[in-house]
């Protein structure tokens, strides 16, 4: 077990290095100069040069890369000159909101998706299955921002049930979390459905039936746990995608997460923040994947033992 984790962590270090290099290259290959954006068109060339020096942009690319890596190891992505503070600090300010939103969405998606998937997969081809299949395809096919705005118009403006944007009370969480959760719910439901449907065809389900169990007992007692295994992996993988999707949702609902931070940072060539956000998210995604992997091995005793030996 420990060995497995260590191995994964080692790969993780490599992955983070790759991710860091990739981002470093992308932001630097991109046209546009952070100093020009920051100082505006009126700055004189000397001022620009001075800022370049402050930002370290006058040094050779490779030297920049090395010091970037060196600092990144210490989780230091430098100061965001634009925000006048360390990039990591700015990112950590916003991170909790994004995580909160992502977790809420995940909770909704998992609870609703699992239930729908279980019911549908228990009887593949049945009425419920068809309805759920249709509904889940539909859920995945609307642009997130469109859904978000529609929800605002209906629930905040029309029905006056929920606040439209921002943070504060738990009610503020409802609309953004639901918006973010909808497509994810569909994914979980579909995956659970197919996984349960497949499990229901396994011989051990037949064994369970031959014990005289009722269908619900078979479904929950035998099919569910086994079908959870792939679902857990995908939920783990998808939480990363969810954090990405949060960018758009946060913009719609003025949710103070990483979303607007990263969009602004890209637009303003705020290298430090772009690097900090992307790498932090990459790190989180990696950890989530690791957790999903470990959970997977815990759920599936076959793999658990292989890992142990």
């Amino acid at each position: 077990m420990i060995k497995l984790i260590l191995r994964r962590l080692l790969i993780g270090v490599f992955v983070m290095w790759g991710a860091a290099s990739l981002i470093f290259v992308i932001v630097r290959v991109a046209p546009g100069d952070p100093a020009t954006v920051m100082l505006g068109p009126d700055a004189d060339p000397e001022q620009v040069a001075r800022l370049h020096e402050t930002l370290g942009l006058d040094r050779p690319m490779f030297a920049q890369y090395l010091s970037f890596l060196g600092d990144a190891v210490r989780l230091d992505f430098g100061d965001s000159h634009r925000l006048g503070r360390p990039a990591m600090e700015a990112v950590f300010d916003r991170l909790p909101a994004t995580i909160e939103l992502t977790l809420a969405a995940t909770a909704i998606a998992v609870v609703v998706g699992l239930t729908l998937g279980l019911v549908a997969g228990g009887r593949p081809g049945g009425v419920v299955d068809r309805v759920v299949s249709a509904a889940t395809i539909a859920l995945q096919s609307f642009p997130t921002f469109w859904v978000g705005i529609m929800l605002i118009l209906v629930f905040a403006l029309g029905l006056r049930l929920l606040p439209s944007a921002g943070v504060g009370t738990p009610q503020h969480m409802v609309l953004p979390a639901v918006t973010l959760a909808l497509p994810f719910t569909a994914i979980v439901a579909r995956l659970t459905r197919s996984s349960v449907a497949e499990a229901m065809r396994e011989p051990y389900v037949q064994t369970a039936r031959s014990k005289g169990l009722t269908e619900p007992q078979v479904l929950v007692g035998h099919a569910l746990r086994n079908s959870l295994i792939p679902v857990v992996t995908v939920v783990g993988l998808q939480m990363g995608a969810l954090m990405g999707g949060a960018v758009i949702v946060e913009n719609v609902f003025a949710w103070p997460g990483l979303g607007s931070l990263v969009v602004d940072a890209v637009a303003n060539r705020d290298y430090a923040v772009v690097q900090a956000v992307t790498l932090l998210i990459a790190g989180i995604v990696m950890v989530l994947n690791l957790v999903a992997d470990l959970l997977y091995t815990q759920l599936d005793p076959r793999i658990r033992m292989e890992g142990a030996s």
Binding site: T207, K211, G212, N226, R302, M305
Partner: protein, 339 residues
């Protein structure tokens, strides 16, 4: 075999050779690509109490479907006909609740591939004891009975092995666990669908011996499904030979295998080589086995039959008693039977 024997708890011992189960004109239809397919077509046979009945036939002949129909676990959309008289009660037309209660408690089943048939994420003990727990037996009692059952099925060190997962068992042990699981509900009839096909010969021999000894001890009836004549010959007292979803021949095992009353059985018997002596290669039957999906008209066996006549091509032979206790679905059974 085993020293520790579990006394059959309760249940009136059934008199020998009284039919515990009568399969009467059983049909199974499954939805196919071109309409419903009659997979099992008018199969009749008896399973007397306390005996082993062998059900043999080549792949696709409908053995598994027959067994599944008996325990009531056919795929969705399957249609059935005929009767399944369980101690005189027609189970086929009984309600779903009655059928479910029969499963595990009166009729239980073990399968060909014990790894697939055991839930990979549950410990062996839990799976074996599940039926007891559902019956409301207390925790401690369940544990005790599980250990006893595993022990009875020949799992060494049952107390600690109960905590293992299926993949930690060898093939033979898995099948033993499966047997323990099937016995947990104290059934009277055990359906064994190719229980040893996936196993090595040495393991197969041990499992067959185990099944036999359990049967002896507990007066259990076994319907042993197999495509291996040698297995059936060695354990069954009655044998039912199926071909393309129908019964080709049935009767007492030694008699059927020694002196078949159907050309198909005859060919089967001839194609089984002996192990210890070198047997010459038999002249094989031509063609491939018929399946329910492409069942020739008339006698389904006629395209491969060395003695087929015109009559066989058009007239479906009925299963008839051709000698005392011997039933055959061949128009010329008597000639085949004649030495």
């Amino acid at each position: 075999m085993s020293d520790v024997r579990t006394a059959r708890a309760g249940g009136s011992p059934v008199a020998q050779h009284e039919a515990l189960l009568q399969v009467d004109g059983l049909t199974v239809d499954l939805p196919g690509t071109r309409g419903d397919l009659r997979i099992v077509d008018g199969v009749s046979f008896d399973v007397p109490a306390g005996t082993t009945v062998g059900l043999i036939g080549e792949s696709g002949s409908g053995k598994t479907m027959t067994a599944n129909a008996i325990i009531g676990l056919l795929p969705d959309g399957a249609g059935t006909g005929g009767r399944l008289l369980w101690r005189g009660e027609d189970l086929l037309h009984a309600g779903a609740g009655r059928r479910r209660k029969a499963r595990g408690h009166e009729i239980s089943m073990i399968f060909q591939d014990p790894l697939a048939a055991l839930n990979p994420t549950q410990r062996i003990g839990r799976q074996v004891g599940e039926i007891l727990r559902r019956d409301g037996v207390g925790r401690g009692e369940v544990r005790r009975r599980v250990v006893e059952l595993l022990d009875r099925a020949g799992v060494p060190d049952p107390a600690s092995r109960a905590g293992n997962y299926p993949h930690e068992f060898s093939g033979g042990l898995r099948q033993r666990a499966m047997i323990a699981l099937a016995l947990a509900g104290n059934p009277s009839l055990l359906l064994a669908d190719e229980p040893t096909t996936a196993l090595d010969v040495t393991v197969q021999a041990r499992i067959l011996t185990l099944l036999h000894s359990i049967q002896q001890d507990e007066g259990l009836s076994i319907l042993l499904v197999s495509h291996d004549l040698r297995v059936v010959a060695n354990v069954a007292s009655q044998v039912v030979v199926m071909y393309a979803g129908r019964v080709a021949e049935r009767g007492p095992a030694p008699a059927v295998l020694r002196r078949p009353a159907h050309p198909y059985t005859k060919a089967l018997v001839r194609s089984v080589p002996a192990v210890r002596t070198k047997t010459a290669l038999a002249d094989p039957l031509p063609g491939a086995p018929a399946t329910p999906a492409n069942r020739p008209a008339g006698c389904p066996f006629h395209p491969r039959c060395p003695i087929a006549q015109d009559r066989c091509r058009s007239e479906v032979p009925a299963v008839r008693e051709v000698a005392p206790g011997r039933f055959s679905a061949c128009h010329f059974a008597e000639e085949v039977l004649a030495p």
